[in-house]
């Protein structure tokens, strides 16, 4: 495992955040954050609420702008682009090119309630990627098989359980074939007995694909299973990061130890 992680970091990072700063009013959420992620790496972001974990994902999805700092995805700057020999602020066209590489799953699923499952899965591939409706349907069927919901193809979100909704949301993001997937507390809105089915889909995805995954989670066991690297954040800074075995058994920073003790007690 450690060898694998080291090898991954030798290649060019798929994602690079440098001195990223973000605040909401007076509240500093990310404090000169640096983070590099290798292709196919699985990162678990852990930390107390308000530590900036979700903000990292929202920034990478371009749902939020940064105050300062640099973000690169596959070597390309997100918020600026080269225009006539100079770096200028990103326009919508450039941002859409960047967004093609990234997908995101939300805590509240955010399925489109007025569309059935099939259309939730095909709308963006047809409109954005220009797939024919047959191609998009084929892709949707494969994904429904992956998440085990083939029989729900005609159902509307309101007819699904929370766990099923979240699995459909994962399939919907996958239908766009992103290079990087961002999972923002994807089980936090679920009843405890529905968490397992969603985590299993993530485990399968981690096993069978080479998508780069950034996962914000409160499930430490799951983080330990799935992650190549665990990043512990507090107050908008990375306090400690490392291999899951090391982070969970012998964290070196006292704050990491305190945090892990408090969550593992629950």
């Amino acid at each position: 495992m450690s060898q694998q992680s080291r090898r991954k970091l030798e290649v060019d990072p798929i994602l690079r955040m440098r001195r990223v700063r973000k605040s909401y009013g007076d509240l500093l959420v990310l404090d000169d954050l640096d983070l590099e992620v290798a292709p196919s790496e699985r990162i678990a972001l852990i930390g107390p609420s308000g530590s900036g974990k979700s903000t990292i994902l929202r920034i990478l999805m371009t749902l939020e702008r940064v105050d300062s700092g640099e973000i690169q995805i596959e070597g390309e700057s997100v918020w600026t682009y080269l225009h006539k020999g100079a770096q200028v602020p990103a326009n919508e066209q450039h941002l859409r090119k960047i967004r093609r590489k990234v997908g995101m799953i939300f805590q509240q699923f955010n399925l489109f309630p007025h569309m059935n499952v099939l259309r939730n899965l095909t709308e963006a591939p047809v409109r954005v990627l220009g797939l024919s409706s047959e191609e998009a349907r084929g892709r949707a069927l494969e994904l429904l098989e992956l998440i085990g919901l083939t029989d729900k193809i005609d159902a509307y979100p309101a007819q699904l359980s929370g766990g099923q909704k979240q699995r459909v949301a994962i399939a919907r993001a996958l239908a766009m074939r992103p290079r990087i997937m961002l999972f923002d507390e994807v089980t936090s809105a679920l009843d405890p007995e529905l968490v397992g089915e969603v985590l299993n889909v993530l485990r399968r995805l981690a096993r069978d694909s080479n998508i780069t995954m950034l996962i914000v989670t409160h499930h430490m066991r799951f983080a330990q299973d799935i992650a190549d690297r665990v990043v512990f954040l507090e107050a908008g800074r990375i306090v400690e990061e490392g291999l899951p075995e090391v982070m969970f058994s012998r964290p070196s920073h006292p704050r990491t130890r305190e945090f892990l003790e408090s969550v593992l007690e629950q």
């Binding site: 371009t62 995101m104 955010n110 489109f112 954005v128």
Partner: protein
Amino acid sequence: MSFDWNLVLEILPALLSAFLVTVQASLLGMAVALLLGLVWALLRRSGNRLVAWSATWTIEFIRSTPLLVQVYFLFYVLPSFGLSWSPLVTGVIALGLHYSAYTAEVYRTGIDNLPKGQWEAAMALNLGRFDTYRSVVLPQAIPPMIPALGNYLVAIFKETPVLAAITVNELLQTAKLIGADSFRYLEPLTVVGILFLIASLLSARLVEKLEARFVPTE
């Protein structure tokens, strides 16, 4: 002065065909208001400050000036700039323009009420601005607005007599002409009142039905 039922029967066909003109002006005016209101609402949400600001002030201007003044302006002033339409077309445009300022507000509220997560999901799926509105935002935002929009249709309908000022042969204008011919205003105006009453009651029922159908009870 007694109420002359024979006169009522005599003038009823003319008033009924005028009633059709009224209905026609209302529906066409509403169609214009629906389209134009959406345009204002979308312009107000434009990323370009100048565009958004202009739309806001256009709406404010339209709302703050009387419909009758707008009708006169379109009918008597625009032709001197080479723009002239028939009275009915002018009336439809005036009603539509005036009420677009109100429907714009309905659209705005409806669009604002859509949960933020829907916009974020659309962005995460890389849908463009147009696709986001067409596929995600409007199909969800419009159904709850239908009763409010229906109320504006009723309001437009009741405002159509304003068009009498520019010689559209709607109900009131026709009743006035009958009155001028027969020297009797009681019967034609009574019939006009009753026709408006019936139509208003019917459309109020319709709006109630729409409300039951489209507004979720919580």
